[in-house]
Each structure stands twice: as structure tokens, then as C-alpha cells.
């Protein structure tokens, strides 16, 4: 039995109509792929963010930094693996002024780099920073900006003076680190909190952020609450969140992206269902006579129906797949335009193809049922 050639020939009976319908489907699925890709991009960023890493901020941004004494209390909570403080060191190199500013994160470097798995740090450099209190690891961007070399000693004019009254801070460049996933080059250094805090005059014994790592990622919410409880009813109220919760919140702050994209996809699919449903109906109507002949020569009703269904799927699925492929090719342009990441993942493609199959089957079901119900003699008589 020549099933597929028959289906194929059916589609090409009216080439203009089939091609135009296929183009409509392709375009609808380009849009569907891109919009679902936006959602998938956010979901991916959220899923990638780790739950065992918590960040404790002051509840009010710009609020007074938290006392370092809290670190011991956080550390002693059951389930906490490690804690590190973070403070900012800001200064200028050589000339005063914004152009020559240098920023470094003062922290406990090993804990800090463990929190940021996307940052690549040379283990030897990390070890050197651990041994050298006055050490500094810098990004390649910062190293190149000033023409520094690993091993060099630099003096930075700090925004906060040292306890000896001098604003000049000495650091040894002990290594570099890379931020391969960042959008552009990064310009900052990492220094030892212990060295910075011992010599700074302002805000001594405080941290702007605590980095916390917990043993059980499933306890992230409860652990966050336990940490915030330490600071409750003090002048230093905190807000602790896992990296995943932060990523989720950032996505939601943009506005209701998911609602927006789904509303558009809904409108597109509705329109498409109408447009293509009409094509399918016409295609069957045109060929009622032919199907009746098939019936007369002994094709069962089910077989004729399966011809109609196969034709609908053949009309839908290849253009939908093609549209999703185009969306996948277009997706990187969004990152170039700094819109965000659009991820036309296999999951998005699978969902898209499911949609296409549903539209095809629903669109063909009604006219096909009508076709089968009509007696062969009636149809042939009309012809």
C-alpha cells in the first residue's frame, strides 16, 4: 500500500495553499520558540544557581554594615558548613579621580571562590593569597588595565585610611582569576579580609555581606530564616537568600515576563489554529470525492481517516520544526543586543512540536469526523 506517497500527493494538490499555510506555521513557531526560549533562559539561570550557597545582606540596601561578631553565630548554626565576610576596598592607583579607581573584595578567599564556581582561579594563586596577608588576586582585565605583573608590589591610595594614618595600602599581586561567563571583562581584585579589616579605620569589624554555605540545599529556606533570626530586632536586620532564590527574584523584578510571553504565545496559537484549521477543512472538502472513491474501492473508514490525520501532521510538523530551528539560530542575536539569554532548548523544541501536533490533530478532527459520517453514495452522487 502506498500510504506515504498518497499523503504527500494530497498536500501537493494545492501547492500554493499548502506552501502558504506551511509558511504561517513556520513563522508562528519561530515566535513560539523565541518567546518560550526567553522563559527557558530565565528558568535555566535559576536552575543553575545553587541553593547551598546563601548570601546574607543588610535588609535595607545601603544600611549600616553588619558586625563581624555575627559570623561566629552563623558558623555555630547546625547545618552551616562555612561562612565568609565581604567588605569593599576602594581606592585609586597613581592618580586621584574616577578613572584610576581600583576596587577589591575583601573576604576569605577560599570560601569566596567556592561560592562562585563560574569564576576560574588558579589554585597556586589562591594558595599564595592564603599565605600572603597582603596578597591580591586580580582579574586579567585589571592586570592589563594597569600593566601589572604577577609578583609585583603595588600601592593603592585607599578611600579609607589605615590605622597608622597613611592612606597608602600595599598589596602583592599573587595571581589572577577569570570570569569566563561574565558579559565583558571584569575589573576587580580579591584581598584578605583579615588584612584589610585590621588596618582600616572606618567600619572596622563589620561586613556588608556574609557568604554562607550550608550542608543541605533543601534546607535553604529554613537556614536563611535562622540566619536572619540572629539579626532580628537589632539595628542590623538582615535578609538572607540562596543564590537560587536571588536569581528567581531578579527574574520576577523585571516584570511578569512569563505571563507576558504566554499571553502572546496564546494569541499566536489561537490565530494559527484558526488559519490552519480553515486550510485543513478546505483540503478535506476538496477531496471528499476522492476519499469516497477510496471508500468505494474498499478502503476502511479508519484507513481513510488515518490518511487525513497523516496529512495534517505532515503539513504541521516539518514547518514547526523548521520554525523552531530558525528561532534557535536567531536566539544568540538576543544576547548580542543585550536583551538577555534566549534558550531554545530541546525541551522548548519538544513542547513546540507537541503544540504543533495538537493543533494539527484538533484542526483535522472535526472535518474528518464529518467526512466519515457522510455516506459514500451521497458524496459520489454530488460529484
Amino acid at each position: 500500500m502506498k500510504f506515504l506517497p498518497l499523503v504527500w500527493a494530497g498536500l501537493w494538490r494545492r501547492p500554493v495553499r499548502s506552501i502558504l499555510t506551511a509558511l504561517c506555521i513556520t513563522i508562528a513557531f519561530v515566535l513560539l520558540g523565541l518567546l518560550e526560549g526567553v522563559n527557558a533562559g530565565f528558568a535555566h539561570a535559576i536552575a543553575e544557581a545553587r541553593r547551598e550557597f546563601l548570601i546574607t545582606n543588610t535588609r535595607v540596601r545601603g544600611g549600616a554594615p553588619m558586625p563581624i561578631s555575627a559570623m561566629g553565630k552563623i558558623q555555630s548554626l547546625p547545618g552551616v558548613k562555612e561562612v565568609a565576610p565581604r567588605a569593599y576596598f576602594i581606592g585609586t592607583y597613581r592618580d586621584p579621580g574616577i578613572r584610576s579607581s581600583v576596587v577589591a573584595i575583601a573576604t576569605q578567599p577560599d570560601v569566596f571562590f567556592r561560592q562562585l564556581p563560574n569564576v576560574r582561579v588558579d589554585p597556586a594563586g589562591l594558595e599564595a593569597l592564603h599565605k600572603d596577608r597582603e596578597g591580591m588576586l586580580v582579574t586579567r582585565g585589571l592586570l592589563d588595565q594597569w600593566g601589572w605583573k604577577v609578583g609585583q608590589t603595588i600601592t593603592i591610595h585607599g578611600a579609607t585610611p589605615k590605622t597608622d594614618g597613611s592612606p597608602d595600602w600595599t598589596f602583592h599581586i599573587v595571581g589572577i582569576f577569570d570570569t569566563p561567563q561574565a558579559a565583558g571583562p571584569a575589573y576587580f581584585g580579591v584581598i584578605n579580609y583579615a588584612y584589610f579589616d585590621e588596618y582600616r579605620v572606618e567600619n572596622r569589624g563589620t561586613a556588608e555581606i556574609f557568604y554562607v554555605r550550608i550542608a543541605d540545599p533543601n534546607q535553604a529556606v529554613a537556614m536563611s530564616a535562622a540566619i536572619d533570626h540572629i539579626f532580628a530586632n537589632s539595628p542590623h536586620e538582615s535578609r538572607t537568600r540562596s543564590r537560587q532564590a536571588r536569581a528567581e527574584q531578579q527574574a520576577r523584578q523585571m516584570g511578569d515576563v512569563e505571563f507576558f510571553t504566554h499571553a502572546i504565545i496564546g494569541a499566536v496559537l489561537f490565530t494559527l489554529a484558526f488559519l490552519t484549521g480553515n486550510t485543513l477543512r478546505q483540503a478535506l472538502q476538496d477531496r471528499a470525492h476522492e476519499f469516497a472513491v477510496l471508500g468505494a474501492v474498499g478502503y476502511s473508514g479508519g484507513r481513510i481517516l488515518s490518511l487525513a490525520y497523516a496529512e495534517a501532521l505532515l503539513l504541521y510538523l516539518p514547518p514547526a520544526l523548521f520554525g523552531l530551528l530558525i528561532a534557535r539560530l536567531l536566539a544568540p542575536l538576543a544576547a548580542e543586543q543585550e536583551i538577555g539569554s534566549i534558550l531554545v532548548s530541546p525541551g522548548v523544541a519538544a513542547a513546540g512540536l507537541m503544540c504543533a501536533a495538537c493543533l494539527a490533530l484538533v484542526g483535522i478532527a472535526i472535518p474528518a469526523a464529518k467526512l466519515v459520517r457522510t455516506p459514500i453514495a451521497t458524496t459520489l452522487g454530488k460529484g
Binding site: 523565541l34 535595607v60 549600616a64 574616577i98 523584578q253 484558526f274
Partner: protein
């Protein structure tokens, strides 16, 4: 019959037969309604966002930031700089001889968005006493002004409508404890600016609570818009300052450029893709209209109807169906989004919210109609040519 009356007769017949080919005629209507119903809300967001940002700008106000800062939040101005700028040439003075200036700090206040209870930030702006004198467009609509020295806030009407806990008498937890909401201010009706999305407090009270020793920005009212270059030069020539000066409209346009560009791009990408889809749908629909009426058309032409009349009538039909689609699309988007108020990123800080309204304005309706007409005519053109060109004898013979 002349061409005009032939065409008119054909159009009437064509329209009368629409119920018989309802499905394929509706394809154009639904296709274009879909494009319009998606495009208008997206464009309404773009327009609403832009208008709200620009709503604050007056050319006779200028904003001073530290040198090379492009936004308020990455700018810092010392108290000394503020004192110098206040006395610069070009600054307007009020009836008491005081300069109309406001040195400001911008901070983030955490609040919950009413619609989805998401934690978001609104801009907390510490301002000086002349703030409302410089911004006559902002009016106190409920409660009273804050009292400097007390931890009191005034909230913008737009912020109050979108976020929880911003009613008069509510306490907002910020640095140094609770800050009480004492008043509500709003812009002119229908001309909501971005300031309405903010909380306002006394700058010095905020600075002492947050232990800040510098301002972020300074806004000054100029003698006139023409005084901007003079003011700018005065600051540039002063050795005590290292600042950059911009007219308020220019600053607002540049600070919102990235979000604006994104909305613009999204609107046009989605619009273009959907328009292309609708074009194919219209072509499909008109081709099937031509096919369904092949015999009828051939008969009419055999009777002496001009080929051009046939083509024009078909184009007119496509146009009318497209316009009907535009009307449906406008109606849907009007019902769905007109008057809706939303909040997204776009406030004065990189992560603070901007509240704005969506309007299906006449301008957007015109865009929708123009788009629909273009799509209808392009979708009708090739089928119309086919109808006019078809061989009469062959068509009649086939049947």
C-alpha cells in the same frame, strides 16, 4: 458601465458572498486581528514607559552629577560641591532670594508588589526643601509634607497603588527603624511621571540615618531653558568642581535608553514576525477567494467586465476584511490593556521599579490601521492579478 460602477458592482457582489466563504474570509480578519491584538499592547508598553520617563523632564531644569557618572546612583556630590553649585550663574531664585535647587540622595526601599507579592525595590529619594517648589507638576493629594529631622516619608500615588504598605500612617522599615508615611503626592492627571513611582523623604534625615556624607545628584531650576549653557560653563570653569551637567529631558532620555531600546526591539521583532505570518494568511485567503470565484469571474469578464475592475474589486475586498481585522484587534487590546497600570524595572536605580500605564492611544490605532491596510493590500495583490489575468475560455472550459 464604466470602470467605477463595474468595480462597485463587483465589490458589492464579493461582499455579499462572504457568508458563503465565511471560513476563508475570516482567515484574513482573524490573522490581522491577532497581529494587532499582540502588537498594540507591546507598543503601549513602549509608549507608556517612554512617556512616564519623559513626563518629568523640563528643559529649564538641569541635573548635575559627578564627572563621568551617567546615572544618579553611580554619582556622588560632596556637601562642598553642592554649596558651590547652588551659587552658580543661571540658577533661578525664588521670591525670598533662595536658589531653587534640590540636592538629592537615591536609595532602594524594599517593598512587596501587590499583584504577586514579589519583593521589589522602589526608589527612596532624599530631597531638600525646594523639591516641590521646583516641581509644580507634583501636588500633595493627601496627608501632609514630611517634617525634616523626623523619619517621615511621602509616597507617590503610583507607588501607593502598586505596592503594599504605603498608605498614610503605615510604617516602612528602612535604615534606623520605621519611617512613617505622612503624605501622598501625584503628578497632573494623565501625565504621570517617574517621580510618582518614588518615596520621598528629607535628604539630610536620610543621610544621617544611612550615615552618608555625600549626595548623589543635584537638580537645579534655571532662569530659563536658554540658561543651560551658561550654567554648564560656570560649573565646568570652577576648579572646585568635577561634575557633568545635563538638561533634565536629555538626562531622562539617556538614563532610560537601555530599557526603552529593549522594549522597542521586542515590539518590532514580535510585530514583524507576526505581520509576516498574517501576510501569508491573507495571501492564502485571497487566493482561495479567487479560486472559489474563478467561474463567476470568467463569466463576468466574458460579459464585458474589465479585468482591472475585477482586480480592484478583489483588492478592495481584501482591504475591507483587513480593516475589519484591525477593528477586532484594536477592540481586543482595548478591552485587555487600556488603562492597566503595571510596574517593571526602570526606576531611578538600576533595580528599582517604575509604575506606568498602558493606553490604546489614537496614534497606536492609526499604526494598527496602517499595518492592516498594508497587509490586506499586499495579501490581495497577487491573487487580484491572477484573477484579472486568468484565461476566460480555459476557466469556463475546465468546469
Amino acid at each position: 458601465m464604466n470602470l467605477a460602477s463595474q468595480t462597485a458592482a463587483l465589490i458589492t457582489t464579493g461582499l455579499r458572498h462572504i457568508p458563503q466563504r465565511l471560513g476563508s474570509s475570516l482567515v484574513i480578519v482573524v490573522g490581522i486581528a491577532g497581529v494587532v491584538a499582540v502588537l498594540i499592547p507591546v507598543l503601549a508598553m513602549y509608549v507608556g514607559f517612554g512617556n512616564t520617563i519623559r513626563g518629568d523632564g523640563r528643559p529649564d531644569r538641569a541635573i548635575v552629577l559627578s564627572h563621568e557618572a551617567t546615572t544618579e546612583y553611580d554619582s556622588g556630590l560632596s556637601r562642598d560641591s553642592v554649596a558651590v553649585i547652588m551659587d552658580a550663574a543661571g540658577v533661578r531664585h525664588d521670591a525670598h532670594g533662595d536658589p531653587l535647587v534640590s540636592a538629592e540622595v537615591v536609595l532602594a526601599a524594599p517593598v512587596a508588589r501587590k499583584r504577586d507579592h514579589t519583593d521589589v525595590n522602589v526608589t527612596l529619594r532624599g530631597v531638600s526643601g525646594q523639591y516641590f517648589a521646583m516641581r509644580p507638576e507634583l501636588k500633595l493629594v493627601a496627608g501632609r509634607m514630611f517634617t525634616p529631622g523626623n523619619q517621615q516619608l511621602m509616597v507617590g500615588a503610583a507607588a501607593r497603588s502598586q505596592f503594599e504598605g504605603l498608605e498614610i500612617g503605615d510604617q516602612v522599615r528602612l535604615q534606623d527603624g520605621d519611617w512613617k508615611v505622612v503624605g501622598v503626592f501625584a503628578g497632573a492627571p494623565g501625565a504621570r511621571g517617574s517621580r510618582e513611582s518614588e518615596l520621598i523623604a528629607d535628604a539630610r534625615t536620610v543621610m544621617s540615618a544611612y550615615k552618608l556624607d555625600s549626595f548623589n545628584s543635584m537638580t537645579v531650576e534655571l532662569d530659563s531653558a536658554a540658561a543651560l549653557p551658561r550654567f554648564e560653563q560656570a560649573l565646568a570653569g570652577d576648579a572646585r568642581l568635577f561634575v557633568s551637567t545635563r538638561g533634565e529631558p536629555e538626562y531622562l532620555a539617556s538614563s532610560s535608553r537601555s530599557v526603552n531600546r529593549m522594549l522597542h526591539l521586542v515590539a518590532y521583532v514580535i510585530g514583524t514576525i507576526m505581520a509576516l505570518g498574517a501576510l501569508f494568511a491573507a495571501l492564502n485567503s485571497m487566493y482561495s477567494a479567487v479560486a472559489a470565484r474563478a467561474v463567476e469571474t470568467a463569466t463576468l469578464r466574458a460579459m464585458g467586465f474589465a479585468a482591472s475592475a475585477v482586480a480592484i474589486a478583489l483588492l478592495a475586498e481584501a482591504l475591507l476584511l483587513a480593516l475589519a481585522g484591525a477593528a477586532v484587534g484594536v477592540a481586543i487590546s482595548y478591552a485587555a490593556v487600556d488603562g492597566a497600570t503595571i510596574s517593571t524595572l526602570g526606576g531611578a536605580l538600576f533595580d528599582s521599579q517604575l509604575v506606568y500605564s498602558l493606553r490604546v492611544s489614537p496614534g497606536l490605532v492609526v499604526i494598527a490601521i496602517a499595518l492592516a491596510a498594508t497587509l490586506g493590500l499586499s495579501g490581495g495583490l497577487l491573487p487580484a492579478i491572477r484573477a484579472a489575468r486568468g484565461s476566460i475560455a480555459a476557466t469556463l472550459h475546465e468546469k
